[in-house]
């Protein structure tokens, strides 16, 4: 139950800054034994890192004799704290109650008269002492770590103005296999969704189509004799591939052919649009920005 009386106002609010002064005042309030007046409890909670820390302090500084703890009195007092503690950090204060209970247990075991048979029983305080000693080592270790020269306090990182740099993002590497698997994936997908299977011209024809377009673009709208589309060294196959490529290009309305006389030379010319081939990237971006579906003729070559 929380009543007005139970809440004892603290005379000195805890001020985190100016720590050393506050610390001195706080320590002046620490009692000589484990009986902590309710108004000092918050001070204890702020000053000590828990009951082990408080016990160590009392043992080392105040010569507390844990043999002579007035357990009954402390127990009554600690139970009274529960009301007070509901206002703050009950969880932390709980640790002190556990400690009080532990001390009470030790005390009670000490008070039981020892019979000769169990004279060798371990001193009930041994475990507590072991814990206090272990805690003390790490309390010291924490202080040692705090003393280590550290960044932003004892030493500082360095920096200097950077030179101007070209930030070149390296380009991703691709393995041919990755690309082929990607194609396999497209084909598999396309096969599922279309009535037709994908048919593809032999790559030599495809490649030749590209070569012809490139050649035509180089002469900028002029005519090119059919014979210029292949070389003697390519032999009959070269002629056939070039002819097939040309047929594909005509079908796609990418080139036009002119034959001025019967059995005369065939001349090839890029269609008006294709004459502007090899336009710049920016230009192509503009043009290809639209995603209009293409004429049926070109689809026929795909499916």
């Amino acid at each position: 139950m929380i009543t007005e009386q139970n809440i004892v106002p603290l005379e000195e609010p805890i001020q985190p800054p100016n720590k050393e002064q506050v610390q001195a005042e706080l320590l002046a309030k620490i009692p000589d034994d484990l009986y902590i007046p309710p108004d000092a409890l918050e001070v204890i909670l702020d000053t000590f890192e828990g009951p082990l820390d408080l016990l160590l302090y009392l043992i080392r500084r105040k010569n507390l004799d844990i043999l002579n703890i007035p357990v009954a009195q402390i127990t009554v007092q600690y139970i009274q704290y529960i009301d007070v503690m509901q206002n703050f950090r009950f969880d932390l204060a709980g640790e002190y109650l556990v400690m009080a209970a532990m001390l009470a247990e030790i005390k009670s075991r000490m008070l039981i008269p020892r019979e000769s048979e169990i004279e060798d029983e371990e001193d009930p305080r041994a475990e507590l002492v072991r814990r206090l000693q272990e805690y003390e080592r790490f309390k010291q270790a924490a202080e040692d770590i705090d003393e280590l020269p550290r960044m932003h306090r004892d030493t500082f990182s360095v920096s200097a103005e950077l030179p101007e740099m070209d930030h070149q993002q390296p380009v991703p590497e691709v393995e041919l296999r990755e690309m082929l698997l990607a194609l396999a994936n497209v084909i598999a997908r396309a096969d599922k969704f279309t009535h037709h299977q994908i048919h593809m011209e032999p790559l030599s024809t495809r490649e030749r189509m590209t070569h012809i377009l490139v050649k035509l673009s180089e002469i900028d709208g002029g005519f090119l004799p059919f014979v210029a589309l292949f070389t003697i060294e390519e032999g009959r196959l070269g002629v056939v591939v070039s002819f097939l490529a040309l047929l594909e290009l005509i079908k796609d309305s990418l080139v036009e052919i002119v034959q001025t006389e019967d059995e005369g030379h065939i001349h090839v010319k890029a269609r008006s649009g294709a004459s502007a081939a090899l336009s710049s990237i920016e230009n192509s971006e503009k043009v290809s920005g639209s995603t209009t579906p293409d004429d049926s003729a070109s689809q026929a070559t795909l499916f």
Partner: protein, 211 residues
Amino acid sequence: MDIDQLKRIIEGALLAAGQPLSVERIQQLFHIDERPARADIITVLEAITTDCADKGFELTEVASGYRFQIRQELSPWIARLWEEKPQKYSRALLETLALIAYQQPITRGEIEQVRGVAVSSSIMKTLLEREWVRVVGHREVPGRPAIYATTHKFLDYFNLASLDQLPTLAEIRELSDANLNLDLDNTQINNDPESEEADAASLDARESEHE
């Protein structure tokens, strides 16, 4: 304060500050009783400049004060500190590239036709910038779409003498049978026409994520 200590403090402050320090600012590092004269600080700054003559950094004066600066000529090496790991190309980009390689000359619309989803402009831009692909003409249809083909650079990169050396479509189908479920198992093949849209949407999402 002896001049060596003054120099150490100023060196330390210039390196620690992370920004240019004016002479006044340097003076304020010292308690009033030991505060050096302006002229002394300038003398020290000159000495520091001389010290750095053969170092990887130099002292420079800018509008707001003095600062250390890494020498410009070291930038090729220094830049490597921030070199990013190359990202991977998206599946969408690889599919587009493969279709251009196998179906060239081809328009973007035709690629979309086969892939079933839009090809993002950034994919085409990446392929053109990498010079694996170029525009070889325009189709004489409304919108005059660009026609794409692969380049010599593309062949060189993949160590091919000509496109003929690429596997045939039949071989690709085999590759597909053998590997699709293993290597591409995160790409589900959809049998349900209705979910085609969902697939397209997820591909779109993947594309925008990567470009």
